[in-house]
């Protein structure tokens, strides 16, 4: 026991003396959680609180353009900025110079075109029913086109979503106009209101149900993504401290010296793993505390602690073991500290990117979603998502444990065989 105690003490002392490593492991996640949560919170709010900034230029000479703007405003989905003085030719540059992401241009013939179309539809219906109608020749105006402008950085699916919303409000206006015109042709225009209300308000609704295993009503927010995501990122960044620690011991001969002593190398490796698993647990405690107590004070969403505490501990433990095992393997294979630090850090950034730490995997293209399965950070994050957002059950965590378990065994075997090849073990 004295040997184990001494080995643990040595690892702790080495860790305490590694100021850069400590800063990377403890300050970095706090800063990342703080900064990225603030930045992403506005994006989450933009989507969740339905406040999409929309620049509208309405040049319609009739009243239907105004109706469309009213409907969009009343929907609560958009924050409308009406700038009717802007000419269509300069709308692209105005959009970019005003820092807006999307704009809608309503042409001068918007109402006339819709009314002309409604008249045509109504005429066809009256003829088919054999009813008399006013056949006075009217000026034909072709169907109008709205112009939708978007910043090139805006994701295509986001633009399509906004256009779909506008399209649905256009349907309301077009249907309303057609009903009005038909009733007018039948000289009962004053009675059209009832049908319009029935057709427009009585539509099939869609109930959104979030799939989760408990009765939690928590909605995914920036805190619930960023706190676990950047904690995992920081856990794996221990490769800089632990990896270079192992390289130093290999290169300076300490490991070989230990080989001449009446001790087992398992004591050394166990001590390293134990200390760094505790480090990972402290990282989680620190960032979670920030999510629970500090972020809400800054107006950011509070981190809600998962109900299943034992599963939470298990996810933290297996994630820590994955991070420690990866750092051990990098330390065993790197020839110099620079290699361990450089390759270790870059590989974690790549694993983080494909694993959904920077951008959630569901917005990635299909092939990237496939590759994300090869990132241990992805499976760690999945574990936390199951806990935080889906009220995680052991059943759902099974895949997470299986993949991380395979990764841990792979790294440990890699470390063992490399050290054995070097005759250290």
């Amino acid at each position: 026991m004295f040997k184990l105690y001494s080995s643990l003490r040595k690892e702790l002392l080495l860790l305490i003396n590694d100021k850069v490593g400590l800063a990377l492991m403890f300050l970095m996640p706090l800063l990342l959680v703080f900064i990225i949560t603030i930045i992403q919170d506005s994006a989450y709010k933009m989507v969740n609180e339905n406040q999409i900034p929309l620049l509208v230029v309405n040049h319609d000479k009739g009243k239907e353009g105004g109706k469309l703007v009213d409907l969009l405003t009343k929907s609560g989905l958009f924050k409308i900025d009406s700038q009717n003085a802007i000419q269509q030719e300069s709308l692209k540059s105005e959009l970019l110079s005003r820092g807006k992401m999307i704009a809608l241009y309503i042409p001068a013939t918007f109402s006339a075109g819709l009314e002309s179309n409604a008249e045509d539809v109504s005429g066809i219906l009256m003829d088919d029913l054999g009813l008399e109608r006013d056949t006075t020749a009217r000026r034909k105006v072709s169907m109008p086109r709205l112009s939708f402008y978007n910043d090139p950085v805006l994701q295509e699916n986001y633009s399509y979503s906004v256009m779909s919303v506008i399209q649905s409000y256009m349907s309301v206006i077009e249907n309303s106009l057609m009903i009005e015109r038909m009733y007018a042709n039948m000289d009962i225009a004053e009675r059209s209101g009832k049908l319009k209300d029935k057709m427009i308000s009585n539509r099939v609704g869609i109930d959104q149900i979030v799939a989760r295993n408990n009765n939690s009503t928590a909605i995914p927010n920036s805190t619930q993504h960023n706190v676990p995501a950047w904690t995992i990122f920081a856990m794996f960044f221990m490769v800089v401290s632990l990896g270079s620690n192992i390289v130093k011991e290999r290169v300076n001969g300490s490991f070989l010296r230990l080989k001449t002593m009446p001790t087992t190398f398992m004591v050394v490796m166990f001590s390293k793993m134990a200390i760094y698993v505790v480090v990972a647990a402290l990282q989680v405690a620190l960032t979670f505390s920030m999510g629970i107590w500090i972020l809400p004070k800054l107006g950011l969403p509070k981190l809600s602690v998962p109900d299943n505490i034992i599963a939470t501990i298990a996810v933290i433990f297996i994630s820590s073991m994955a991070a420690v095992s990866y750092a051990l393997m990098i330390g065993a294979f790197a020839k110099t500290e620079q290699q361990a630090n450089g390759f270790g850090a870059i590989s974690i950034i790549i694993f983080g990117a494909i694993g959904g730490i920077l951008v959630p995997t569901f917005v990635m293209p299909g092939f990237m979603q496939f590759f994300s399965n090869f990132s241990p950070l992805h499976w760690c994050l999945e574990g936390f998502y199951v806990l935080f957002l889906k009220g995680g059950s052991w059943q759902e965590l099974r895949m997470v444990f299986a993949f991380l378990g395979i990764f841990i065994v792979f790294c440990q075997l890699g470390t063992y065989f490399k050290l054995r090849l070097e005759r250290i073990i």
């Binding site: 004295f2 040997k3 001494s6 003490r9 040595k10 002392l13 001969g253 001449t260 002593m261």
Partner: protein, 249 residues
């Protein structure tokens, strides 16, 4: 007990996996208990390879190495407990203090806590490290680092001590301190197997030597005897006569 072999090396060959030639070829030596035995030779001769084999760091390709104490052979576990190894590199933790390094390596040698503390303070004292005992080793001079390296290898009072160039790169004062202390350790009964490129130091320190070149023992025996047989005045001349003057690295 002098006069009995503590290490018997018989027909040892060593060839590394990627090498074309043997690093050691048919090496046979007897090293006596309480001896100071010098393994001397040019760069790449095979000295470090032989020490690494004796310390159990690398295996032999063929041949046999036996350790004895008072005529009784050691088991593998006993060998690890009873030998001390001071490598050429600073094989310790530069981020820790000498006290912390000695505490760690002493525990790895299975020293009980109380005995470890006594030995630690004794070594810090006799090797002139007491004042800097709580400073990080990384800030030390080369001579102080060599003394820390030595202290770690002898903290458990080994019966056999292997020293791979223990005074390389240190000033005269540190070299004297190290050699003086090693002589005391030897007088207390510890057998010392030592490699060095300092011929005058080896001449002063060693009782018996083996000259190795191209992995083979080209001369072995008592230092005075070898000088007499080869009719030379000092070890350096003997070394040059037997190994030649051309560069080896």
């Amino acid at each position: 007990m002098a006069g009995q072999a503590c290490i018997q090396i018989r027909g040892v060959f060593k060839r590394y996996k990627t090498a074309q030639e043997d690093s050691l070829a048919d090496v046979s030596l007897d090293i006596m208990q309480s001896d100071v035995f010098g393994l001397l030779g040019p760069n790449g001769a095979g000295k470090t390879t032989l020490i690494s084999i004796l310390c159990g760091i690398i295996p032999v390709s063929s041949g046999d190495v036996q350790f004895f104490h008072n005529g009784r052979p050691y088991s593998e576990h006993e060998r690890k407990s009873r030998i001390g190894f001071v490598p050429q590199e600073y094989a310790f933790y530069q981020e820790l203090t000498p006290r912390q390094n000695l505490d760690y390596f002493g525990a790895m040698y299975n020293l009980p806590k109380k005995r470890l503390q006594e030995r630690r303070e004794h070594l810090l004292q006799v090797l002139g490290l007491q004042k800097a005992a709580d400073q990080k080793v990384g800030t030390f001079s080369g001579g102080m680092k060599r003394r820390v390296n030595l202290a770690i290898g002898i903290i458990h009072e080994p019966e056999i001590l292997f020293l791979d160039e223990p005074t390389v790169g240190v000033d005269v004062q540190s070299r004297n301190a190290i050699i003086r202390y090693l002589q005391q350790v030897n007088q207390a009964g510890t057998s010392i197997i030592y490699t060095s490129h300092h011929m005058s130091e080896a001449e002063e320190f060693c009782k018996n030597i083996a000259l190795i070149d191209h992995g083979r023992v080209i001369a072995a025996g008592g230092l005075q005897h070898l000088k007499a047989v080869h009719e030379v005045e000092n070890l350096q001349t003997l070394f040059i006569n037997l190994t030649g003057e051309e560069y080896r690295d």
